[in-house]
Chain length 382, copies 4
Amino acid sequence: MKNKLTLLGSLFLMSMSLQAQTDDGIIRLSEFAYPVKRQNLNIPDVNGFKVLKCDFHMHTVFTDGHVWPNVRVQEAWREGLDAISYTEHMEYNPHSADVKVDHNRSHDLAVELAKENNIVLVKGTEVTRQTPPGHFNALFIQDANVLVADNNSNLDQEAIDKAYAQKAFIFWNHPGWKATAIPGSYEWIDFVEKMYQEKKLHGIEVVNGLGFHKKALDWALDRNLTIIGNTDIHNLIAHDYNIEAPGVHRTMTLVMAKDRSASGIREALEAGRTVAWSSNYLFGKEENVRNLVNASISVSPSYHEKTNSKTKVSTKYYEITNNSDLYFELEIKEGKGTKRIVLYPESTQILTAEAGQSKLSYEIVSTYIRSDKHLLFDINLK
Amino acid sequence: MKNKLTLLGSLFLMSMSLQAQTDDGIIRLSEFAYPVKRQNLNIPDVNGFKVLKCDFHMHTVFTDGHVWPNVRVQEAWREGLDAISYTEHMEYNPHSADVKVDHNRSHDLAVELAKENNIVLVKGTEVTRQTPPGHFNALFIQDANVLVADNNSNLDQEAIDKAYAQKAFIFWNHPGWKATAIPGSYEWIDFVEKMYQEKKLHGIEVVNGLGFHKKALDWALDRNLTIIGNTDIHNLIAHDYNIEAPGVHRTMTLVMAKDRSASGIREALEAGRTVAWSSNYLFGKEENVRNLVNASISVSPSYHEKTNSKTKVSTKYYEITNNSDLYFELEIKEGKGTKRIVLYPESTQILTAEAGQSKLSYEIVSTYIRSDKHLLFDINLK
Amino acid sequence: MKNKLTLLGSLFLMSMSLQAQTDDGIIRLSEFAYPVKRQNLNIPDVNGFKVLKCDFHMHTVFTDGHVWPNVRVQEAWREGLDAISYTEHMEYNPHSADVKVDHNRSHDLAVELAKENNIVLVKGTEVTRQTPPGHFNALFIQDANVLVADNNSNLDQEAIDKAYAQKAFIFWNHPGWKATAIPGSYEWIDFVEKMYQEKKLHGIEVVNGLGFHKKALDWALDRNLTIIGNTDIHNLIAHDYNIEAPGVHRTMTLVMAKDRSASGIREALEAGRTVAWSSNYLFGKEENVRNLVNASISVSPSYHEKTNSKTKVSTKYYEITNNSDLYFELEIKEGKGTKRIVLYPESTQILTAEAGQSKLSYEIVSTYIRSDKHLLFDINLK
Amino acid sequence: MKNKLTLLGSLFLMSMSLQAQTDDGIIRLSEFAYPVKRQNLNIPDVNGFKVLKCDFHMHTVFTDGHVWPNVRVQEAWREGLDAISYTEHMEYNPHSADVKVDHNRSHDLAVELAKENNIVLVKGTEVTRQTPPGHFNALFIQDANVLVADNNSNLDQEAIDKAYAQKAFIFWNHPGWKATAIPGSYEWIDFVEKMYQEKKLHGIEVVNGLGFHKKALDWALDRNLTIIGNTDIHNLIAHDYNIEAPGVHRTMTLVMAKDRSASGIREALEAGRTVAWSSNYLFGKEENVRNLVNASISVSPSYHEKTNSKTKVSTKYYEITNNSDLYFELEIKEGKGTKRIVLYPESTQILTAEAGQSKLSYEIVSTYIRSDKHLLFDINLK
């Protein structure tokens, strides 16, 4: 332990030299400053598509959020997001005594900053009337202000129709939001069915914040609607997510797009090439989740073999690597091999398998391809 | 390494069970949520005074800040602060196209939330005219709106006088702010001297954010003005400070007060019982810094002695403990003992001293009791 | 976001100045060094007793551990422990081809280092024969080597008797260790009953590493045996515990002792004044757990009251503070107040209660005062 | 702040459900366990070569280290290393009273574990006689025991010759080790010159632990010797490096090899394709450092342009991305653009440049291609 008494260096210990002396009589005490950077969120391309990290649901002081619009760009830039959308409430403006109501304003105020930070800004709004039917987000609109419905008897329908007239991509937000407060609200009601029939409903927000709406996933799968995950953030991301902890990220939609642009995102949304990512879980159509998994996980050829001297059973060793910042948990279903594998972001585990097998079959229990179904993942052993 | 392959438990690994299943068809994926708590910031009482953690300089969307007023209470609560003050600019309102100008509004909007969170709210404002003379904060005012000066030739003086008429505690903000941009601005100018002579200047903000204004410290010491440290935060604390890292805190004024109340704070400010704390450094009058150090650091009696078989020199062992969340760095000046000691928050180091001495003298290089002077700290050896 | 482009300071950014230039042609690149310190583990005194943090079960290369004895002192010092005990296996020496077998050696090699670091070293050993009866630790012995039993038919009994003859404090380790592998091994067998009757069994290791042995807790409670929790560490603490994460600590026994000494520890062990602490949980006799909780948690008088304008119900606000580095989770049992409270180390939560009540009753679900019973905790409202 | 009172989820808060209940009467309290994983250390291939992370200098209990050999494989696996070498001292065996002296033993004990963990084990030893000449590591040897020199008058030469006879790759360790204690020891002495002339010296350890030996770098560059960086670890990596902090890694040699094998490493070492990496710094031949930088840093085409309305100056925006886990600091030398850029691991910064330029020239001040020279790095603007 001699080192203990003599070791000089440490972050704190060297702090005197951290003062950036300048010639203006001010000393910058800089070591406490946040390391300002855009953290790459690594996910390999999927079959030639870029995997864009998108959050299509958020609020600012212009409705009931707690931040000025610029903060949302800062957060997106720092956290490695590619695209965001301001979706202020159309009909709920609790700050109106202080803040002038203008449904386009948060987007407009952020346009230049988003450009400087290379963040794709998708113009959007949230149509929020009674629940049911609840709330809908309309993306790729031109003007949010004209969407406000007249005060007549058919508010919801009118707002949806106006958004549709603007060629919006429309999805249903957090379908189970008031599931317990308003019995019957978490149902596939006529209003929604009509939208769906008229091609005015294009996706469902299956994950809102940290809430996974199970029935909503199945509705989306059964009707081939696009699966969406968003934060619906009102507060700071840093106050709602433990964002500095390793592996922690906000809820988002992974969009597999031809290019990193608003039009690329729109094409992918319409084609349904999305996976929602929240906490350690992925939610999506089987094909999309499978493609994402295949792009992220690799298994090495066997690099070692060992025979148990008593049982004469031979065990082969493999490396299974997560090449992405995603997270995977696997549980074996068939074959004799490692029973449970946890693949942290950008990490590797050792996989062992009894020699003589050509395949192991796992369930990736950190994925949902239906509310009660995980992705099956076969590993071919070499 | 057998353990590696068999060990089951880990934060991530158990995450499936982290899902809080509920009966409403929504699964809460909770492990990514921020641990919402008020983190105690431990500093022992100093000679019977409570050490209150205060930030008297901050902004919201009501002037040029990026957050709604409630966020400042959230931040203060989480970070263990006792008191804050909204100090919106009187004359600078870049959001006025969107946000109605009302200089009392951010304070008023936060009053109830502050009460619920037991945060002391000190009503304040920032008088911001030309530089020089620069900016001044006025605390304990009644009405910020009436402070706005008429558009005449003596703007600064009028605003200061109106604040003084409201019995404000007034301090000069970041005196070196435009030191390089406006030559001569970082001087003790006539305007300030007049305020001082008329007892209208009560303190100086020696540390603003992570900038330590060296000359300002000496001005305060020479004139017995109260030493203040503030964030002057416009953005999120979490975006400007690496707040989740161990030992990191925002800049603040430590106020040694008779009780935890607005009046207790005022009495202490007027009596000058403050120390500014920024990064790893403490700035203040020698007496205040010394009292704070004495309350925070303790040295044990010797618990071990060892004699070098060759040199016959005996070494005694002591524990030196930092009982606070502050940080101290000591360098020896006199005596034969450990040359350099770093006392991280709530931690202990071993101190060794040649036997036969009654005292070691250290300089605490992480303190400033003048722009060029650290506190001397004697350790009596037992 | 202007700040992003201009902000200079950050830990990494300043790193050039972190180089401690010296005159010997070697530059120390110090910022990556570990902050070497003893982290205080704060637990307030309990009814005048000091709460000592002790780990009475660990191994080194002298049996089947992976470290030289000095590492165990380093770990204890860094982690804020007060006392440790080397408890090498008497009969299991897998390194004997390389390391000379001497059951006292790891202790002896650490004695001087422990003194320098002010760590109390309790001389111990682990008697490890067949399971059942399993393993027993003997503390406060004089000579481990003489405890090795002759190769006769009554190995276990002889070793226990020899330890008893040395006036050892003896406890049963991890009683459920081979619960599934050897049916019947996790039972209160005759061998143990005989020890107990003859006063040769004084405690039970209720928690071993991260395994809580439920039946063992009840056995200890029913027979008034001392409750022990240990790591039984073989590997590095840093490889088995996520020791750098906030709030993480190794498993240990909290010993409420008259003073910080071997004799103080012995007296407390014999008096049964212990609580085992592992993960977020406390395990112990109700009285001990209650005293520890009372010393750690404080509730403020009400500081705010608010009346709901619709329901006319008044709510009072209180602060509930955890003044220790322990962790508590409370669930309400009686009264109208906050249903669930999580008290992280050194933190505070807001507690609300309907006005007009004098008391709220909580269950502290992070404590076990029996395998199926948590501590009840009443809060008197002021 | 409503969320604060109602938000349920958090790592700690959900901890009750973290208990993995089993049917054997033992509850596993698993959330404190270390997330056991191999952390990928991402560095893109360099001109078709794999960048292997190697540490060729370390000790165990078999000489003066503090750990059993298996711990070094654990550490290497967890930290993403590809190859290690046990280099026990030939002539310094302070544990010999307890541990049988065998210079091959630590390597041999680790062979099977290294195979299972896919860690390349390079057989080595450290020839440690007087200083000067100091210490030398010999890699790729067959038998360390036969290297021990007879007790004659020419110890150093004999040991070196024997290692050379085993076709070892030999490098000089920490040349400035006793620079101040033994004046003249940090010189290019005759003994070393003779080794060099006889082709018995192949590399120099320019960085040892966190010490950068400036003169040694220049010696290696001037004589085309291979540049090496190692930990020379005796204690735990986790006690000497703040290994859990983001961006922290042990000191190592980056070997650009044709394949991940002992022979691949040897070929690269002989060809001099190495860069030493310690703290935030890279040390190596200009060509090697340049290739590594080019593989790691990418600059996007301009994605935005903005014209200052007053000055009419146009500014173009670019993204500069660090695609590796390395760290880079750039300072501008020529051109009008961002003056200082810090590229944290796997992160991106915005680079701005005045329009109309084709190039910016930076110095990468976190690299050393000579003791007084950083790499120059040109950015071609598109």
